[in-house]
């Protein structure tokens, strides 16, 4: 493969977990909830997938990832909706909790040395015909199957958000919960379900990291992806298609190091590691349009 194809392939690969997490967070934020605990959902999903894949099936692994993500999101929902605690603090605590619990459980269950447990990993599945398209064919269509699930999910969420009454209700809840309630929408239920959905996709993102990429679990392997995903939602202007595009941009930034290596250009490797975070800062600054944010984002703990 040419350097360009390697670069593009790395772009899509890196973007996949980010896109999953960001898509889920988009739905949650459209309902007016900012879930800083997304990081916790991702690491929980990573661990959950590791445990569940031990059963021998990759899809069981992803199921475990999804469930773990939902569990974390449920805790977040309980504190923000039921107890009406501040979304930001709760989210921060959830992330800390997720990182701590997964680290502890991992050491307890698999020993302090992290003895390599072999779990089935998901290999590349080439899509016939499509993967033969020059330049983009391989990067887009020679990926693990879970990536194709993502491809289907993005337009599905988009259609659901703009072409159904439920999606309308979701967006109204994020704009003005009181108006949504007055129109007969159960704002509390909408927020709860969207938080759980966001957690589920966040968990799956963690599953991607383990099953389709690293092949094993490591403490803290989420490496801030939850927060990057939140930035991606802002950059994508809370629109499923925009978010997918923004995820690709981040994927490209990370994949850049391979491109540099292939080209023989030298830069300290830490620069590439830091690049996604720098990009997040620049991206957030560049989009000074908080005007597109759902009007009641982060303000109202929930409807009642």
């Amino acid at each position: 493969m040419s350097a360009l194809e390697t670069f593009l392939e790395g772009t899509v690969r890196t973007a996949t977990p980010l896109a999953f997490a960001a898509l889920g967070e988009t739905v949650a934020e459209r309902a007016g909830v900012i879930n800083i605990g997304l990081e916790g959902a991702i690491i929980a999903g990573a661990f959950g997938s590791f445990v569940a894949a031990g059963s021998g099936s990759v899809w069981a692994g992803f199921l475990g990832a999804a469930l773990a993500g939902i569990l974390v999101a449920a805790v977040f929902a309980f504190f923000t909706i039921r107890i009406r605690a501040d979304q930001i603090i709760t989210g921060t605590a959830i992330s800390l909790l997720g990182l701590g619990v997964t680290a502890t459980l991992y050491r307890q269950l698999y020993g302090a040395t992290g003895a390599a447990l072999s779990i089935p990993t998901m290999g590349i599945t080439r899509v016939p015909v499509l993967s033969s398209i020059p330049i983009i064919g391989s990067p887009l269509f020679a990926q693990p199957s879970i990536t194709y699930v993502l491809y289907a999910l993005i337009p599905a969420v988009w259609w659901w958000m703009y072409k159904t009454h439920m999606g309308l209700g979701l967006r109204a809840t994020g704009e003005d919960p009181r108006a949504a309630i007055a129109a007969g929408i159960n704002a509390g239920k909408v927020q709860l379900l969207s938080i759980l959905f966001g957690g589920m996709l966040g968990g799956i993102a963690g599953g991607v990291l383990v099953i389709a990429q690293a092949g094993s679990f490591a403490e803290g392997m989420s490496a801030g992806r939850g927060f990057i995903a939140i930035a991606i939602v802002v950059l994508g202007r809370w629109h499923p298609l925009g978010v997918a595009a923004a995820a690709l941009v981040f994927g490209a930034a990370s994949a850049l190091q391979y491109f540099f290596q292939a080209m023989g250009w030298a830069l300290p490797y830490q620069a590439f590691l830091a690049l996604p975070y720098v990009l997040t800062l620049l991206g957030l600054a560049g989009i000074a349009g908080k005007a597109s944010a759902p009007a009641s984002l982060g303000k109202w703990p929930s409807g009642s």
């Binding site: 009454h165 309308l168 009181r178 949504a180 309630i181 129109a183 009007a295």
Partner: protein, 460 residues
Amino acid sequence: MTTLELNGITKRFGSLTALDDVSLAVQKGRVHALLGENGAGKTTLMRIAFGMLRPDTGSISVDGRSVTFSSPADAIQSGIGMVHQQFSLVPAMTVAENVALGGHGQYSFRQTADLLANVAKRTGLMLDPAARVADLGSADRQKLEIIRTLTHNAKVMILDEPTAVLTPKDTTELFTQLRAFADAGGAVVLITHKLHDAIEHADDVTVLRHGRVVLSSTMSDVDEITVATAMLGAPLNSSSIDEKPSTSSLAVVASLDGVEIKGGEIVGVAALDGAATPLLRALAGRITPITGSITRPSHVGFVPENRQEEALIGDFTLTENLALASAGERRGLMNWTELEKQTSAMVAEFDVRTTGPDQLPTSLSGGNQQRFVLGRELRNNPALLVLENPTQGLDLNAAAFIHTRMKQARNNGAAVVFYSSDLDELAELSDRVLVVSRSGIRTVEPDRIEIGNALLGRNE
């Protein structure tokens, strides 16, 4: 035939009894006015009727069938429609989207637009389905709410203070529509504190005071005085400080785009749709004006409309809230002992019912909070005092007290500028009235009809 009946409704919030054994029967084809001063319980009762609250005791029945509402969705299902005072439309969305909210299945703009066209044919009420609600004025937004209840085939239409933000012309149009709705077989509940709206347009009347029904009758059986007495109850605790000082020593205290404001006068400001807010805030020095010229003294007392969010900090004690007033300019150390003394003195002078300077403002009633805020802003005898809707949501005693103090400040030589969405209050209290509209600022006499006309742009 009784379309909607509320029976024996009681509702308590902690130690406060908002409604005590209240019953209301709304007949088909008739307009029923629900009267009462602010805090009487009208809105609470209607929120129960619309499923936003559950009663502690009592029952609701629609068309003779007993129903229980666990949410507005249930109420809408049973044919109850509500036209709210505020906060029930999503500004960022279009007319069509707002109408479609709460539906099921797929959303189609085309279908919704057709639905709206139907309603327009039936009633003449028309709005552009693609228009954004944020771009609509108050009258149109209200129209949208009415249209929405019609698309849900409402049998009962409840309107909460519908004329608060309307011009006289819009008001007439509204009541024409309501009458047409009633004639076609619907029932209307008109929640209002405006006596003469009820007298003129309602068929039946129920008066609430302190959460109890004090009068329930057809309008033809009672007269204005009876209803007014029922509403007001105990006589007002107002002093009769009405004499203005002699006009000999009036200095110009401030100016708004060339309009001078002198000490020793109360200037009322009338405007539509919040046009007065930026003006008043610039006058008070709380925001910087973008265009136009404003001169003002360096110390301006300001009583904002949104008391709880903008004038007071809920977690600070009363002493700390007092210190807040000049916090932006203070330097060095805080003398809390001194500030506490000043707070106690001020609280006594302004008759604020509180347990002491350490209390939190959230445990004060609305009236006491407003007394506190006013007392704080008047503390250093500012040359200019600016107020936004100072008596909104207050009981009559507190409102009278505020009015008295405003007059007192004027008599002491200060200039008092206040905005009110209540034309009656403007007419009653002001020495002159400034009407803010698209074409600028006009001065008119404090007369209700003149103000109303000026707001509409007549007689220019």
